[in-house]
């Protein structure tokens, strides 16, 4: 895929959950066998947008995520394309064995969406944050795992997931953020998205962390450090070739994710590079701890998910590499 043109700057701010609801609505008009199942969180996730136009294809299962996923498996067996809607924390933990045994193992055409992912779960705290979902679903055979960034990519990812035949987990974000993807963006499962070229360091992002990663690249550029930014919204299948290529090109890689540094993007990149292109690396993410409840900005600052910290990690990485060669 050709590099995304960022010359026009950021587009309008779109709330990712609104993009999710709109995507369901659009797909509902095109795909007559699309169903949405909700475990009483539709007004939060915005699955409710679909319900307003397609009440007969909106299935309210109540606060019962395990039954929701099992029902989705049965509906898939009956020829429907079910999309389940709940928070990422519940999709990946409360209903985990149902996803494994009733969806992934029989390889059924169910789309599992996880809203409010990472630590951006409002002020709800650690029970509602989800910092392990990528690790969990990435480890599951036959699963496809997607983590789109802005509203445009969210909409495109939902479309790609529905068009794909098989189980998919889509990690979603709630909050409004500026759009960086072009309006005609098409999501390609399994492909990385080159966002910016630079030869000094590669910044690799997934999910909404693309935005602070791009800002970090701007900060570094102001200091004379030219960063490549490679976005990886498809955690599985994973674009290993693109990762190896940017590692070869820069010799220094920083991964960035609103997720534990264990098992997610950082782990996927380390797995690939340690086998194919051993490379100096840093992982920015949640450092194997549960966070806390607080305003988003405060959380992001304390747990290091900021452009300033990404840039600092890149600088420290380059300094370490230089020192090791001295």
């Amino acid at each position: 895929m050709s590099q995304v043109d960022l010359s026009s700057g950021c587009g309008p701010t779109i709330a990712c959950r609104e993009a999710f609801g709109q995507a369901l609505l659009e797909l509902g008009r095109e795909v007559p066998n699309l169903l949405v199942l909700d475990a009483d969180l539709g007004s939060s996730t915005r699955a409710s947008v679909f319900a307003s136009e397609f009440p007969e294809r909106f299935i309210q299962v109540g606060i019962a995520e395990q039954n929701m996923v099992g029902m989705a498996a049965g509906l898939a067996l009956a020829g429907w394309i079910p999309v389940t809607s709940t928070l990422a924390c519940f999709a990946s933990k409360r209903a985990l064995d149902q996803v494994r045994a009733s969806v992934a193992q029989p390889n059924l055409n169910v789309k599992i969406t996880g809203g409010y992912s990472g630590i951006l779960a409002g002020k709800t705290g650690i029970t509602h944050q989800s910092i392990e979902d990528l690790a969990i679903f990435r480890a599951m055979p036959q699963m496809t795992v997607l983590a789109p960034s802005d509203g445009i990519e969210t909409r495109a990812a939902i479309r790609a997931a529905v068009e794909y035949r098989g189980p998919v987990y889509i990690r979603l974000t709630r909050d409004p953020m500026p759009t960086v993807m072009p309006p005609d963006y098409v999501f390609h499962i399994g492909k990385a998205v080159p966002m910016r070229s630079g030869s000094d360091v590669a910044l690799l992002s997934t999910g909404w962390m693309l935005l602070p990663t791009l800002e970090a690249a701007t900060i570094l550029s102001g200091e004379g450090v030219q960063a490549t930014v490679l976005h990886l919204p498809s955690l599985k299948p994973f674009d290993a070739e693109a990762v190896v290529e940017v590692a070869r090109h820069t010799g220094a890689v920083v991964t960035v994710e609103d997720h534990s540094i264990l098992g997610g993007l950082g782990a996927a990149v380390a797995e690939i590079l340690s086998e194919r292109m051993p490379t100096w690396m840093r992982r920015v993410g949640i450092c194997d701890c549960y966070a806390e409840s607080a305003p988003n900005e405060d959380l992001l600052t304390k747990y290091g998910l900021t452009p300033a910290n990404i840039a600092a990690q890149a600088r420290e990485l380059l300094a370490s590499r230089t020192a090791s060669r001295a």
Partner: protein, 287 residues
Amino acid sequence: MPPQAHTANAGLDTHDMTRLQGEALAIRRLVLKTLNKSQAGHPGGSLSAVEILTSLYFQVMRIDPAQPNWPERDRFVLSKGHASPVYYATLARRGYFPETELATHDTLNSRLQGHPDMRKTPGVDMSSGSLGQGLSVCVGLALGAKMAGHAYRVYCMLGDGECQEGQVWEAAMSAPKFGLDNLTAIVDWNRLQLMGTVDEIMPTHSLPGLWREMGWEVLEVDGHDLMALVKVLQAPHSAGKPLALLAHTVKGKGVSFMENRVEWHAKPVSGEDLKQALDELSQEGAQ
């Protein structure tokens, strides 16, 4: 051509009964041989379900073994997936695959896995094995059938021990909401589980009461009486309500030293056990 359904009021004549009894006996023998060969698996909960599966697959369900994926077929999900030996024996007798293939159960590259796998075994409508999940799948299947205008019925078999899983009751609560009168849950009520009696492990005040309060039509039946099973499964039921059929069964049914013995939940069947069991069944068959 789609197969003909057995009509609801046809009843069973002597010929039918002889045929069903013969199938039940053959299935019981195959279960024991399969378990002896694999030296693994679950004899007790397989033998308790023989007549239930016989009545479904040889009389009640609209199916066509020549077209395992026929879209209008009735569906069956073995939620108590550890009873796979009786499931496979039934499917083999019904013609989904050769009886000789039962000897491959639990061996490398077999189509017959330890727990049912819909991607490997012809006739298996849904994979199962992690207890408590099958009824939710059947709720989805039954709802999906209704929404798409299909007339097929969905049958789910659960164990009574399995009903300790919370998800069973999430599913049980949801089926009446969707008016799933095309769904039948059959509980193999044999009163034993791996570590002891169900009453010792986790008693319920009233199993029928639990289902009834969730909004199901509840019927009880002798789960080894083929005539009664067929009759109750083919009878018309309350419109708008799912049916819970609580089948009183004996774990290890048909083999004297296995009946009502908790250790036979999951114990390898030795050569000696097999010989004695088959001898007993031969005598029963001769009667």
